[in-house]
């Protein structure tokens, strides 16, 4: 299992909002350009060094759920329900 993941959002607004929540929770993360192998949805994404179930839980509480999550091999491993 990879020790970091990539969170994909719909737009920059959600990236910045999610980043602020993760910062508040002291989670190691980095806002980076989205690898094109994963998505062309938004130019920015967040790389996190944390278990994804924790991350999703924090972000759900903050009202900013990622569209999808990829692992370190850029493979999609999680997708939000109802999001297209």
């Amino acid at each position: 299992m990879s020790d970091w993941f990539i969170l994909i959002f719909r737009n920059t607004h959600e990236v910045i909002k999610a980043d602020a929540f993760l910062e508040r929770e002291n989670i190691k993360r980095e806002v980076i350009p989205t690898p094109k192998f994963i998505s062309s949805e938004c130019g920015l994404c967040i790389k996190v060094w944390k278990d994804i179930s924790d991350v999703v839980k924090i972000l759900k509480e903050g009202g900013v759920v990622p569209l999808k999550i990829a692992d370190s091999s850029f493979k999609e491993i999680w997708k939000a329900e109802g999001k297209t």
């Binding site: 719909r10 737009n11 920059t12 607004h13 959600e14 990236v15 910045i16 909002k17 602020a20 806002v31 980076i32 350009p33 989205t34 062309s40 949805e41 938004c42 130019g43 920015l44």
Partner: protein, 394 residues
């Protein structure tokens, strides 16, 4: 404050506030010299910093409006653009009527006129009293099954009088009719709360009482109101798609935004929050009241609008008997360094309401950086002009 000038007393704050707080100028300078990149496009650190400014400003403005979903706070270049987007979004290709008031600025009246020319939309105008008062019931009386939207001015840029927008919202909310509120003269100098309102759309400018740079403004679109954008294009999101995204704020924000202006606006809002809207309001009203009381009883001077200060902003329009407003304004500038605005203030219907159309009036608009001394000096100068103490011929 940053800048300002010794040779003038600036009383045209209803057109744009001047000067701006030092923090506003510094923030804009810092932004353009240190993180002046395009937000939401590239993924480098400067672009991310620029995106953070937009996010923080959206959040700060949402808090000031007391609304929850900051992603639905849309930036525009001014209130006029916001009003156009909302007016077209609500009324284009619709049939019925739109209700508005006889105190509106042309930023409301002109989009409504143009839309009504090309769409079967009847414009119904609720007529205010000469004092600037307009009871919500008068607006309610014009609303029927065919009403598509209601547009109301919060504070008049001519009389400084306000309408009870939250009472009006009670009328429109229960019918599910969108209410567009023009906050151009009130946001930043009057406390506001749009909490719990599902069909009410506040529209604001950033460069007046919010103390940001010109080129900033916006509106808040509640979830229950669905409209189409007026301008579409690049958003930095969904780039594989040739169609406009339907999520917020991207749906309404195409093209590179005014990041320097938005940075200045963020600093302006933070400055206001630190000082307190109520304390700013108290100060400005004190000046407007002092000025009005000093000139009010003069036989040559007529002051417009009622004097019920809790229901006003610090805008006072006057006329000097038998003197052209432009002449009065020029003499105030040339002889006393007092900067006012003469004429119709882009609000012909408001001047019709107070009986000053087509020549208009002279407007004194006080701001947070004016002092009581400024108000007293302006009153004395106006009296001197009224009494013929200074000449237009020299």
């Amino acid at each position: 404050m940053e800048g300002g000038r010794e040779d003038i007393i600036y009383l045209d704050n209803a057109a744009t506030s001047f000067p701006k707080p030092k923090e506003v100028v510094e923030k804009a300078f810092e932004f353009i010299t240190r993180s002046g990149a395009n937000p939401g496009r590239a993924g480098h650190r400067l672009s991310v910093e620029a995106s953070r400014i937009l996010f923080e400003c959206r959040k700060a403005l949402s808090e000031m409006l007391d609304v929850e979903r900051e992603e639905r706070l849309i930036f525009t270049k001014n209130a006029t653009e916001g009003l156009n987007v909302v007016a077209y979004g609500l009324l284009k290709d619709k049939k019925g009527n739109v209700v508005t008031t006889s105190l509106e600025h042309n930023s409301v009246m002109r989009p409504l006129r143009l839309i009504s020319q090309n769409n079967p939309i009847e414009i119904r105008v609720a007529k205010a009293q000469r004092s600037g008062r307009l009871e919500p019931e008068k607006i309610e009386a014009l609303i029927d099954e065919e009403t598509v939207a209601v547009f109301v001015n919060h504070a008049s840029n001519v009389t400084g009088t306000t309408l009870s927008i939250f009472e009006i919202a009670q009328i429109t909310e229960k019918r599910g009719i969108p209410l567009v509120v023009d906050l151009t003269q009130s946001m930043g100098c009057m406390p506001l709360s749009f909490k719990g309102l599902s069909f009410t759309i506040p529209v604001f400018t950033g460069h007046k009482s919010l103390l940001g740079f010109p080129g900033t403004g916006g509106f808040y679109l509640p979830e229950a109101v669905e409209i189409e954008p007026l301008i579409v294009g690049g958003t930095g999101s969904n780039s594989e798609n040739q169609w406009q995204p339907d999520f917020m704020p991207d749906k309404f924000e195409s093209g590179t935004p005014n990041t320097v202006g938005i940075a200045s606006l963020l600093a302006g809002v933070n400055w206001i929050k630190k000082k307190g809207v109520e304390s700013i309001r108290k100060h400005e009203i004190e000046l407007a009241k002092c000025f009005t009381e000093l000139v009010d009883k003069h036989p040559q001077i007529e002051v417009y609008g009622h004097r019920d200060w809790p229901e006003k902003v610090a805008v006072v329009s006057v006329n000097v008997k038998d003197k052209d407003p432009a002449v009065v304004s020029l003499l105030l500038d040339r002889e006393f360094g007092i900067l006012t605005r003469a004429g119709l203030h882009c609000a012909p219907i408001a001047h019709e309401t107070i009986g000053t159309f087509p020549t208009g009036a002279v407007r004194f608009a006080f701001g947070v950086f004016n002092s009581l001394k400024d108000a007293e000096y302006a009153a004395k100068a106006l009296i001197k002009v009224a009494e013929g103490g200074v000449s237009y011929d020299s």
